[in-house]
């Protein structure tokens, strides 16, 4: 009997020669992370243990990205606790505002995750790194505290659902649409406790930014992790990141699923007729084709986040916004996911296009995605966002609404003032 990528990575990190889904294992983690919301809890619990050292100063990242630049006094205190802890325990990977980025865009960019790694993070979208052929999943703050101390984590070995994407993708359709379509088909608990392995000819030609978007939203289907076999494209991405930020790192071990691996289910989609998708309030599974949505006026458009705040998202948005103006009643908020993306967007003139169109171009932050800051919705307001969740009250008032889409739909919507297909503008 063969194994899936997920099973092979868990097996290797549990020091086992065989493994079965449903089993509980203690695994060694290659890397762990927390942010300004989840790490303070972990720090408090770790300090109670009275240890002098963390398990490995080079394998922990603390990223103040959620409520930063600090939105109020309490948030400032929480963010500060990360800086203080990082200094006290010599944590190597801590970034201040100005160098910081949205964690799940930042870590791959910095070459801190590679194929075959096992990463846990006190943030549900930690599943993003599956795009590099790594096993990564969200855990809680107590799990993070335990990992700080032991370098280990308990996990239940998940069954894997294999998703096969066939056909060819239309213009304006990207990874975000593939994953919204998938969540729409299986529901928000359709992959509960399961690994989601994304495969097929469409995935093989999918750019890395789109792969990150897909794996990022595995959690929105209840998945434990999303994973894509690391191919030449993924290895190229990682090697480039190593060369730029981590020249001492070189070894890459790529795991592939065996031909006779056991899947709990195999689901195939032909994406040839797939259109840009929009998730309607209040669940990511509540999807509809963008062109079928009529007369939904929006007050705010957000382009950013760990899902779609990468360079290709900003490029496509700028293409649509160039020589266009945002409708007078719309607030367009563009947030590059990392400082590197920010700088590149300035260099390429993208930032200029956003500002000329009547939008704002912000420093990296998770801010509005979770109703933190930089764009909270008032009662009765409506936003279209390239983020990942549209639960009740997610971006502000419990009586506000969030719609989710790719960056092209978002940019076009800002121009039209109501939800539309990119071709309604271009």
């Amino acid at each position: 009997m063969g194994y899936t990528i997920t099973e092979k990575i868990l097996m290797a990190h549990a020091g086992r020669k065989s493994i079965k889904s449903g089993e509980f294992v203690n695994v060694k983690v290659d890397f762990c992370l927390g942010n300004d919301i989840t790490a303070p809890f972990a720090i408090q619990e770790f300090e109670k243990l009275g240890l002098k050292k963390v398990f490995d100063e080079t394998r922990i990242a603390l990223i103040p990205d959620h409520f930063t630049p600090a939105k109020d006094l309490k948030s400032a205190n929480q963010a500060k606790s990360l800086a203080v802890f990082a200094e006290k325990y010599h944590i190597q990977h801590y970034w201040e505002v100005g160098r910081m980025g949205v964690e799940h865009a930042l870590l791959p960019q910095m070459g801190l995750v590679k194929p075959g790694d096992l990463v846990i993070g006190a943030d549900s979208h930690t599943c993003t790194y599956g795009a590099l052929g790594a096993f990564s999943c969200g855990v809680g703050s107590t799990d993070l505290a335990a990992a700080f101390a032991t370098g280990e984590c308990w996990l239940r070995v998940p069954e894997t659902i294999k998703f096969v994407y066939n056909g060819t993708m239309n213009k304006w359709v990207g990874g975000k649409d593939l994953i919204l379509h998938t969540i729409g088909a299986i529901g928000v608990s359709g992959a509960q406790y399961k690994a989601m392995e994304f495969t097929g000819p469409v995935i093989k030609t999918l750019p890395m930014d789109d792969r990150f978007s897909m794996c990022n939203m595995a959690i929105e289907a209840g998945g434990k992790n999303g994973i894509i076999e690391a191919d030449a494209e993924a290895v190229k991405y990682v090697k480039k990141a190593f060369a730029k930020y981590n020249p001492q790192r070189k070894n890459i071990k790529v795991y592939t699923s065996d031909k006779d691996a056991v899947y709990s289910k195999v689901i195939e989609y032909d994406v040839t007729k797939l259109e840009p998708m929009v998730a309607m309030p209040h669940l990511p599974s509540n999807v509809k084709e963008a062109h079928k949505i009529k007369d939904v006026k929006v007050d705010q458009v957000v382009i950013g986040s760990c899902t779609n705040g990468r360079l290709s998202d900003l490029r496509i948005a700028a293409k649509i916004l160039k020589n266009n103006r945002v409708k007078p009643w719309v607030r367009l908020i563009v947030i590059p996911a990392t400082q590197e993306i920010y700088q590149e967007a300035v260099r390429e003139g993208l930032a200029n296009i956003f500002v000329h169109a009547g939008g704002i171009f912000s420093t990296p932050s998770c801010g509005p995605c979770l109703g933190g800051h930089l764009g909270i919705l008032a009662e009765g307001e409506r936003a279209l966002a390239t983020t990942n969740r549209n639960f009740v009250g997610r971006m502000g008032h419990p009586k506000s609404e969030v719609y989710l889409s790719n960056a092209a739909v978002a940019a076009a919507t800002a121009v039209k003032g109501k939800i539309c297909h990119p071709e309604d503008v271009v």
Partner: protein, 163 residues
Amino acid sequence: MKFKGYAHTFGNDVNTDEILPARYLHTIDPQELASHCMEDADPHFVKKVKPGDMIVAGDNFGCGSSREHAPFAIKASGVSCVIAASFARIFYRNAINIGLPILVSKEAASDVKSGDALEIDTQKGLIKNITKKRDYISDVYPEFIQNIIKADGLMNYIRKKKK
């Protein structure tokens, strides 16, 4: 552990944004978090809930973010136990890790109504509905999880292992 209290019911896919909205995530103070527990699912929950009461919900309870503030707020609000048809995985492990008792029972999730008086024995996995005079059995925890529960949470479990 044995608990007695009244049920407060919720539907499917109750997410962590409803359990503890992000606008309150700038603190880790238990009492402050408790004062906003379930706020966006039921704004009156905090006023209604009495120590020992239970939350009974449908499928996928606690879906969404990894914020441990969610189970922490529930525990700090005096809720003795959460019963659901199923739990989202991060919420499940967070509850186990911080020692908030949770039980999986599809039967109880579909049958219990808000206000029903319940008696729970977590050891036996027995849920007694006093109002309806009915019993439900919950799924048994795997041994691995039982050991964490017996140690009263993950950090104590680690403390014991480190000794």
